[in-house]
């Protein structure tokens, strides 16, 4: 049973191995390089599906455990295991990287190097979702975050933001909105977050006895309350800056707008989830007292995120910025679900990670496709594209419908659960701005759909547009199918999420917090 015993490490390693192959063979160019990357991505996706299939729901807990000592002196080990959340998030990652590689088939500049970085990054993402050791978790986290700098800095597209406002003088030093600016800003803000996380991790390690970085040790250790209070804030800020938490979300619009298609898909689709996942998995679960104290603020900020992101999206004229701000808004839903500290809220938060990941992946795939053909992201200049690209228009509306929470699509299930959880929490009013945010989403998403695709046209200069083809179709249809599947039959993954939530939530709520409840 080699395959089964090493399923997780193989899943994590598959993209990495593909990256090594690409590195070792400089002659691989074009379609050949992309095929290698696709094989690596698909292998990891297959691994994720195998994990889903072999996870025993009736047993629950951590499964498919693998543990290899790395630094015994500090109790650091490569401890991989999957819980119900991991199952869902691995599936998400698998779908996004596979479709991401498919959607990037049209890339023709240094594609080998691009794919190497992309695959390494994805290995990091997989690693985060299955790590049971905080040190390794953090290591994978950094592997996932850092390649972004190069991916955006080298392959990104240029934008420009007008110099205005009280801080217009900064434009003297850097070009706000440019791709190097975006790459640098994203990296610096996320690294600032990482620095905060590192401080909290080290503090937790020593407060828990300084013997092990294992989740089982750190979770349920008797941390002093005062330490929990500041450490939670560090983790909230640190992971939250990747999760798009207000006001540390501003890297996201610039970053996602500048990033090439596959990178936007991965970043908004999966990487931002790492941030929210970190807040829940490390922040809330390991520091329950800190969570209990800060949760009202986390929830209030999340609500602000939802409304703020949606209102900002309303005013954008750049297609990618609209989608990027919608990510900020939807990540607010995830954080809101987390802050409710209810079963439904947590189920909804994780489900929203999956649903939003696929939805935004679809959005960025479509937007990238439009940009690739129209060479413009400027919405007021577009119109009537549906005549030339009816398929793209259809799927854009579908993604929009999922984002505004139409029943039958994945977004509805997630948002419904989160709002249900919010109303059960101590802060019922959270649900109201959340629902209003969903309405504002309907306004901006369908409006941009109309402005770009419907009406007369296409305008001058856009006569040569064509619909999606080949691999692009594969990516779009696969993502759309996932949205429908998850909307019609949510229990497909919700059962797994629910299983893990049932085990984890009591740790935070304090009832039965023994620290061993999650040991296999």
């Amino acid at each position: 049973m080699f395959w089964h015993a090493h399923l997780l490490s193989l899943t994590v390693a598959a993209p990495f191995v593909a990256a090594l192959v690409l590195l070792a063979a400089p002659d691989l160019k074009g379609a050949a390089a992309k095929t290698v990357a696709l094989v690596g991505a698909a292998a990891s996706f297959a691994g994720a599906i195998a994990v889903w299939a072999s996870y025993d729901l009736s047993q629950g807990g951590l499964q498919l455990v693998e543990q290899y000592a790395l630094v015994p002196a500090y109790g650091i080990s490569l401890h991989l295991a999957v819980d119900g959340w991991g199952v869902a998030l691995l599936l998400l990652t698998g779908v996004i990287i596979t479709t991401g590689v498919l959607a990037t088939w049209t890339l023709e500049v240094r594609e080998r190097e691009f794919l190497v970085l992309l695959l390494v990054l994805v290995s990091g993402v997989y690693g985060v979702f299955v790590s049971q050791d905080l040190f390794v978790f953090f290591l994978f986290y950094e592997i996932a975050v850092l390649p972004m700098y190069l991916l955006i800095g080298i392959w990104g597209s240029e934008g420009e933001v007008e110099a205005k406002g009280p801080f217009a003088f900064v434009w003297r030093r850097f070009k706000v909105g440019g791709r190097e600016y975006a790459a640098m800003k994203l990296t610096l803000m996320l690294l600032a977050g990482s620095a905060a996380i590192l401080v909290a991790i080290v503090a937790m390690f020593f407060a828990a006895g300084g013997t092990s970085f294992g989740f089982d040790t750190l979770q349920g250790a008797a941390y002093p309350r005062s330490m929990q209070l500041w450490a939670f804030v560090l983790l909230w800020f640190g992971f939250g800056s990747l999760g798009g938490v207000f006001p540390f979300h501003t890297w996201s619009p610039d970053g996602h707008a500048a990033a090439p298609t596959a990178v936007s898909m991965l970043h908004a689709g999966v990487l931002m989830k790492l941030g929210a996942f970190g807040v829940i998995r490390v922040g809330m679960m390991m520091l329950p007292d800190g969570a209990a104290y800060w949760v009202p603020y986390v929830g209030a900020v999340a609500v602000l995120n939802i409304v703020w992101g949606a209102m900002s999206a309303l005013a954008q004229k750049d297609l990618k910025y609209i989608i990027a701000y919608s990510s900020v808004s939807h990540m607010g839903v995830v954080m809101l679900g987390a802050a409710t500290l209810t079963q439904d809220g947590w189920n909804g938060a994780i489900y929203q990670m999956v649903a939003h990941g696929m939805m935004t992946g679809l959005f960025f795939a479509l937007v990238g496709l439009v940009y690739h053909r129209a060479h413009s992201r400027w919405v007021p200049g577009m119109g009537g594209f549906a005549k030339r690209m009816p398929g793209v228009a259809t799927f854009f509306v579908l993604a929009g419908l999922s984002s505004l929470g139409l029943p039958g699509l994945a977004g509805f299930v997630a948002e419904f659960l989160v709002f249900l959880g919010a109303w059960q929490s101590d802060h019922a009013w959270w649900a109201v701005p959340g629902i209003i945010g969903a309405f504002v989403t309907a306004v901006y998403v369908l409006r941009v759909g109309r402005d770009v695709f419907f009406g007369e046209g296409p305008a001058e200069g856009f006569e040569e547009l064509s619909d999606a083809k080949g691999t692009e179709w594969a990516a779009i249809v696969a993502l759309a199918a996932c949205l429908v599947l998850l909307g019609v039959y949510p229990n497909l993954v919700l059962e797994f999420i629910h299983q893990a939530t049932t085990e984890y939530l009591p740790l935070v709520l304090g009832s039965g917090a023994t620290g061993v409840a999650v040991l296999p």
Binding site: V161, F174, P247, W308, A315, P407, V413, A431, G455
Partner: protein, 609 residues
């Protein structure tokens, strides 16, 4: 045929159209072929109609409630996990609505074959795909075993409405109208969603039979959604614009079935609404006001579809007012009769429009001679709407007015009575302007369309004419009893209706009398056509929502992000200053090293000493 159980029939009714929609959605060559797609869709509608009829006959015979559910979504609470369920619920209310929807949908699809025959093939296929999707959505709403599924169907029919209004999406006005309809209803739907959440948290389920102290809040929130969906003042603004869609769509969605979903929700959730007297009060007044307001706006419209659209708002107002005052039978029976005669009116109007290629009343005239079937069926529909004795609308409207009288709601009753006069008046106006009188030049070459467009009219006209006599069996379906009884209120309403027709005859008949009266009301017409409510909403949208959005975006970009940029700027500026330390002169570095060494030594000496 007896081998199938009611549940199997209902599944057939529900999933038949879904399968058609999926096949047409996925197999694009079939969809783009046009005709075959229409055939398949019609097959789905036929299966749906057959199944619905079987069920309807069964329930007329007094079948028991049948319910079947499947687990759908895990809900976890403090007391453990449970399943939120979806499924089918068959009782008199759902089965009769199912049947109404099935008939109208079938007629509309048949009519569309003729009406849209000039469309490109791909568009034709797309139209029927969405028609099938709508049928599935509406059925899932109607057959919902709990309010959550009703909400899901509710949103899906909203989607279909968006798609079908925007069917001619290359027309900017259609694209805009589709968005407007979706936004307004979506805005209202926030109430339903929030209401469902409140209901769930209080009762642990989505059952309409629940008893809860929060019924007042829940039903008020529900009513917000009802106002959106059933186009009640001031959320009625989307309905007239929705006429941008093809006329058969207006007949099916925006007259007979989808807009009635709001009323259906109130009927369905009657046990909940019954616990909330305040909500009832609000509904009665809002409904009555809408009935009067929309009727008076309908009087001055020049576009035949706009007249009918405002008329729909007005008639829905009657239903809402009835349900608010507890006249459940009246409200629901009027929903049924209205579905038939309003669908008939829209389809017949579609026939007229098709013949003269214009929506304007002034472009019609004298069409009764040229399109006798369409014309006469239109007149039947108009008489039913006007509440002419013997027609179906007469019975249902009488029930509503009697109900309000019994409830002691005299204010709303007065509004509805004036509304009854106006209704007869504007329908008379349309009939006299479009069907009688001298033909306009557009109408010269008008001729009757083929059987696809006339047969549905005849079927619907039969129902509009005859359904009133089946009020008794229908009442039994809802678990109520009906006795015909014409009281003072009924007689007054009938007299007012006849007066309305008479006034219209005087003003718009051959004599063209009372023009002074028309002139006196001209300012009212200008006000009504100016769309003050519409402008208010446009202002709220542009100034408030978009303005706020622009403000937030500006703050986000130039203040929130600006501060982040300032941090970057400050680091760079600080580095600039610090750079001066690096002189590049080796000796300066050596001095620094030596100075550091001395400082360290001094520090050590102090610490040691």
């Amino acid at each position: 045929m007896d081998t199938l159980t009611p549940l199997q029939w209902a599944s057939l009714a529900l999933f038949g159209p879904l399968v058609v929609a999926l096949v047409l959605g996925v197999v694009w060559p079939l969809r783009k072929a046009g005709g075959p797609a229409a055939g398949l869709s019609l097959l789905g509608a036929t299966v749906n109609l057959a199944a619905a009829s079987v069920l309807f006959v069964g329930w007329l015979g007094g079948a028991d409630t049948v319910r079947a559910t499947l687990p759908w979504l895990i809900h976890g609470g403090p007391e453990g996990a449970s399943m939120i369920e979806l499924g089918l619920h068959l009782d008199g209310i759902s089965v009769s609505m199912l049947w109404v929807v099935a008939i109208v949908a079938f007629c509309v699809q048949v009519f569309s074959l003729g009406y849209l025959s000039d469309e490109p093939k791909a568009g034709f296929g797309r139209y029927f795909t969405w028609q099938s999707l709508f049928l599935f959505s509406m059925n899932s709403l109607v057959l919902a075993p709990n309010l959550l599924q009703l909400f899901m169907g509710w949103e899906l029919v909203g989607l279909c409405s968006y798609l079908l209004i925007g069917f001619w999406f290359k027309k900017p006005s259609a694209a805009r109208a589709a968005l407007k309809a979706f936004w307004v209803t979506k805005f209202a739907d926030m109430g339903l969603l929030l209401g469902l959440i409140v209901l769930f948290v209080h009762t642990g389920g989505f059952e309409w039979t629940a008893t809860t102290a929060a019924a007042g809040t829940v039903t008020l929130l529900f009513f917000l959604a009802v106002m959106g969906k059933s186009a009640q003042f001031p959320l009625h603004i989307w309905l007239p614009d929705a006429m941008e869609g093809p006329t058969p769509v207006s007949a099916l969605l925006h007259a007979a079935t989808m807009v009635a979903a709001g009323v259906f929700l109130v009927v369905r959730a009657q046990p909940l609404f019954a616990q909330a007297p305040l909500t009832g009060e609000v509904m009665t007044w809002v409904g009555a006001f809408t009935a009067l307001f929309a009727a008076s706006v309908a009087v001055v419209q020049t576009d035949i579809k706009k007249v009918l659209a405002y008329s729909t708002c007005s008639q829905l107002g009657y239903m809402i007012a009835a349900l608010g005052s507890g006249a459940v039978l009246g409200g629901y029976f009027h929903l049924t009769t209205h579905a038939f005669f309003k669908a008939l009116l829209f389809l017949a109007a579609g026939g007229l429009i098709h013949a003269v290629h214009s929506n304007e009343l002034s472009h019609m005239g004298g069409l009764l001679k040229r399109l006798p079937v369409t014309g006469w069926t239109f007149i039947i529909g108009a008489l039913a709407l006007a509440g002419f004795p013997g027609f179906s609308g007469f019975f249902s409207k009488d029930l509503i007015l009697e109900g309000l009288f019994d409830a002691g709601a005299y204010g709303p009753l007065a509004m509805l009575l004036i509304g009854a006069f106006l209704t007869a008046f504007y329908m008379g106006r349309v009939v006299f302007m479009a069907l009688l009188g001298p033909p306009s030049e557009h109408a010269e070459h008008a001729h009757e369309a083929g059987g696809a467009m006339t047969l549905p009219l005849v079927l619907l006209a039969t129902l509009a004419l005859g359904l009133g006599f089946f009020a008794g069996p229908m009442a039994r379906l809802y678990g109520l009893t009906y006795h015909f009884h014409l009281g003072a209120v009924g007689i007054t309403a009938t007299a007012l209706g006849l007066a309305g027709i008479g006034t219209a005859w005087i003003m718009f008949g051959p004599k063209q009398g009372l023009q002074g009266l028309a002139a006196a009301f001209a300012p009212l017409g200008r006000v009504a056509r100016s769309g003050a409510v519409d402008k208010g909403f446009a202002l709220a949208y542009r100034q408030a929502l978009l303005g706020l959005g622009a403000g937030v975006a500006w703050v986000d970009r130039y203040i929130v992000d600006g501060l982040i940029n300032v941090m970057g700027y400050a680091s760079l500026a600080f580095g600039d200053r610090l750079r001066a330390v690096q002189t590049g002169n080796v000796r300066d570095y050596v001095y620094a090293v030596v100075a550091g060494l001395l400082l360290l030594g001094a520090f050590g000496a102090i610490v040691q000493g």
